[in-house]
């Protein structure tokens, strides 16, 4: 019964999406206010029905209703309750339902909070949102229905993929989807602006918070995925340039570019065409990401849902959405007015350079991801594109980006002299230079590249803090005045400082992990010891361990430093009986500066176990950095400019006094 309610709600949502994508457009054509406002009602209705549908699926999982095919295939009565719930989206059908639910939530949010939007812009944006929803709801109902019944019902379920039975991966997809799908707002508003034929500062002010929120969620989602890979896959890797990782990384790169170019539209009304194009491209890349994961077109460790028919359907959706939007863009964009010009050295100029580098980086990832397909299609050869390719192409683009990141925020809008910015960056540069030099000397130049990267990372952190120091004129005015200045500094400035510092922290972590990690692999008897990174790792005991739906072999390790016990770590080799699948649980000790990482392996004939012990310097920074970036985004979101219901300010200065 519950499943039927879900199925019915899905069909109703589809019908409403159809109406939502047509009626408001008729309204804007006829100038009929009622028809235009219908978009809001439809969006809210669609959202409510999808909440019902999703709740029905969650309920089927919670009740372990094995007469529902999807539940029988992906759950098991012995699974802990938390994983029964998260199993809802740990499979193809359920995760697509989550995808459209989030899409509808964003649409509903526009309908509810969009009172201060121009009526026709709102109507058009919701219509576009409805069209995307329509496509994906049809995809679910016709190719991937989560409510299909199983007759006769299964006695028990086939269990969830054990790799997904982990809290990190359980909350990874919702965040990722909030990001992917959040970019649909940029898309809908871009297409709506193209239909309207005009873009102004208020458009940018409306789109930016949605893009920023989506970006924050995507950042968190990617970080969770990377962290999960680190502790779950058992060898301490954190990024593999796997097609599925790339799929989430490409929209992140262009989304970051969009965030910055929308800033120029908002402040200076320049880069309008480009920002609209980025909005379209970013969501298209999100769709391509969905396609990559869901079609299994590129073989990868993630492809747990492989079905060519579905791939073709999503590919069709991509061609329709992207193609349609780009055609409209080609038709309408040339008529948009060019923005106010700016000098070669200016804030705008640095933001454009940021876009140049980010988009080139995204293109690099795109080429690397799809080239094997191209080669396979045009010849019989098969190639692989792995980390060595990206190290040679992607990484070099990131280094100038870090420089732009440090210098850009110091520049004034419109026109500035590079000397002004460099004077302000002197002190941060000295700190960074000294630190980098010390590292080079200490390592006898073993790793010059790592030293440069570390120096840049420290410079970025110091330069971000310097923004605040200059803003509150610390040391130049009485301290009380500085405190007052700090209080009236907008939150968006704090957001910038925090987010940029976060990048610096992440880069430091990535550099240290790439250059200075240590490993020891040895066959150890119980009582045996290995030494890694100044720690002694002693295998204390090995014994059996029973979990709710697995059996495990658990190794206990004493971690000592200079003979003093630091901590006790466990590592397990779990065997999930239903899926006949083995996983490794690593033991990790961190003091935030470095990690000790221990994973047990197989037993040999001499009663010894393979033990892998790693020393990972600054590893945690790789994930702290991005989390701090997302925090910066949220702080910026809380700026009063973006707050819902905050009194609208007078028109920005440039509208009153046109530049030049």
């Amino acid at each position: 019964m519950v499943a039927e309610i879900g199925q019915f709600a899905l069909i109703l949502a589809l019908s409403l999406a159809l109406a939502q994508s047509i009626v408001p457009l008729i309204g804007t054509h006829l100038g009929d206010l009622k028809l235009m406002n219908f978009g809001s009602s439809a969006a809210i209705g669609q959202m409510l029905f999808l909440i019902v549908a999703f709740a029905a699926l969650v309920a089927s999982y919670v009740m372990s209703d094995f007469s529902v095919l999807n539940v029988a295939e992906n759950s098991n009565s012995a699974m802990p309750m938390i994983y029964k719930v998260t199993a809802t989206w740990g499979n193809h059908e359920g995760s697509m339902l989550l995808w459209v639910l989030i899409l509808a939530l964003f649409g509903g949010a526009v309908a509810i909070f969009g009172d201060n939007l121009p009526v026709s812009l709102k109507a058009r944006a919701l219509a576009v949102q409805g069209m995307v929803g329509l496509g994906f709801l049809a995809f679910i109902l016709f190719t991937s229905n989560p409510f299909t019944r199983l007759d006769p019902a299964a006695l028990d379920g086939q269990d969830l993929n054990p790799l997904l039975q982990d809290i990190g991966l359980a909350i990874h997809p919702p965040f990722l989807y909030l990001g992917y799908v959040g970019f649909s707002m940029a898309f809908s508003f871009s297409v709506a602006a193209l239909m309207e034929g005009k873009v102004d500062a208020s458009w940018a002010r409306w789109v930016r918070p949605w893009v920023l929120a989506a970006w924050c969620f995507l950042t968190i989602g990617i970080t969770l995925g990377s962290f999960w890979a680190y502790y779950e896959l058992g060898w301490g890797g954190w990024w593999f340039w796997d097609p599925v990782e790339n799929a989430s990384f490409m929209p992140w790169l262009t989304g970051t570019a969009l965030l910055h170019s929308a800033l120029v539209v908002e402040r200076r009304q320049a880069l309008v065409n480009w920002t609209i194009l980025l909005g379209i491209l970013t969501f298209s890349l999100s769709l391509i990401g969905t396609f990559l994961v869901r079609s299994g077109v590129l073989t990868s460790v993630h492809s747990f849902a492989v079905d060519p028919a579905r791939g073709v359907f999503i590919l069709g959706l991509i061609v329709l959405t992207t193609g349609g939007a780009l055609a409209l863009y080609a038709y309408r964009a040339p008529s948009f007015k060019q923005g106010t010009p700016f000098g070669p050295v200016s804030r705008e100029s640095s933001l454009v350079l940021n876009n140049v580098l980010l988009v080139s980086a995204a293109a690099t990832v795109f080429i690397g991801t799809f080239y094997p397909l191209l080669i396979e299609a045009i010849s019989s050869d098969k190639i692989s594109v792995g980390p060595p390719f990206y190290n040679l192409t992607f990484v070099p683009m990131m280094i100038p980006l870090l420089v732009v990141m440090a210098v850009g925020p110091m520049l004034k809008w419109k026109r500035d002299a590079i000397r002004n910015a460099l004077t302000k960056l002197m002190r941060p540069a000295i700190i960074a230079g000294l630190a980098a030099a010390a590292i080079v000397i200490a390592t006898f130049g073993v790793h010059a590249i790592a030293a440069i990267c570390l120096g840049l990372a420290i410079w970025v952190i110091a330069a971000s803090l310097a923004i605040l120091v200059h803003r509150v004129r610390l040391g130049q005015v009485p301290f009380a005045t500085s405190v007052h200045l700090a209080q009236i500094t907008p939150r968006s400035v704090y957001g910038l400082v925090i987010a940029h510092a976060g990048i610096g922290i992440a880069v430091a972590g990535m550099t240290a992990m790439s250059a200075w990690q240590q490993e020891e692999i040895r066959a150890l008897p119980v009582g045996g010891q290995i030494e890694v990174g100044g720690y002694q790792v002693m295998l204390k005991s090995v014994g059996p361990e029973n979990g709710p739906n697995y059996v495990a072999e658990r190794a206990v390790f004493d971690i000592k430093s200079d003979g003093q016990l630091v901590t006790t770590l466990f590592s397990e080799r779990r065997f999930y009986q239903v899926r006949r699948f083995q996983t490794t649980e690593a033991g990790i000790h961190t003091n935030l500066i470095s990690n000790v990482y221990v994973a047990m392996g197989e037993k040999n004939n001499n009663n010894e176990w393979t033990v892998r012990a790693y020393y990972h310097p600054l590893a945690t920074w790789i994930w702290f950095g991005p989390m701090i970036m997302a925090l910066g985004g949220f702080v910026s979101l809380s700026d009063r400019r973006f707050r819902v219901g905050a009194p609208r300010r007078a028109q920005p200065a440039f509208a009153l006094a046109p530049a030049e």
């Binding site: 460790v301 060019q338 988009v359 692999i521 393979t610």
Partner: protein
């Protein structure tokens, strides 16, 4: 954390000897000659495990990856150069095993594509910032006759 503590941290980390990461190598696979083993480790990070996708044979604990590691070490022990050892495997399993794609006609676009995109984007950037700054061409246009009328209509409506 202040810059000085940060500095100290890095200095400490910097003292640690550089080493390459790896995972799946079993103790019994390791070659007795350290130099040869280091070469084997380096090479195996650039070779793909065919069954597990996008993992190097150094990272993978699949049986096939283990066979590859053994094969590679046998070639090195037999006195092959790095290149000969890799070529030996490529000759049998194709370019697919190389995580770093070979440089040949078919992959020209792969290797030069990113640079070309960057150059193109930089060219656009160059044209954008070279736009004459503050010339007449960029002044806000004056209102057209129709717009002026519309404005007039709005203004009179507002005041009446």
């Amino acid at each position: 954390m202040g810059p000085y503590q940060l500095f100290a941290t890095f200095a400490i980390i910097a003292l640690i000897v550089f080493s390459t990461p790896s995972v799946a190598v079993e103790p019994n696979e390791v070659l007795p000659d350290a130099a040869q083993e280091a070469r084997a480790r380096d090479l195996s990070q650039h070779l793909r495990c065919l069954v597990c996708q996008n993992q190097s044979i150094d990272d993978s604990n699949a049986p096939l990856a283990r066979d590859f590691r053994r094969l590679l070490r046998e070639r090195i022990k037999a006195g092959d150069t790095d290149r000969a050892a890799v070529d030996f495997i490529v000759a049998r399993y194709g370019n697919f095993v190389l995580l770093k794609p070979p440089f040949q006609i078919g992959t020209l676009l792969l290797w030069f594509g990113p640079g070309l995109v960057l150059l193109l984007a930089l060219a656009c950037y160059w044209m954008l910032i070279r736009r004459p700054f503050g010339t007449t061409a960029r002044r806000p246009e004056t209102l057209s006759a129709a717009e002026r009328e519309e404005l007039q209509a709005i203004m009179t409506k507002g005041t009446s």
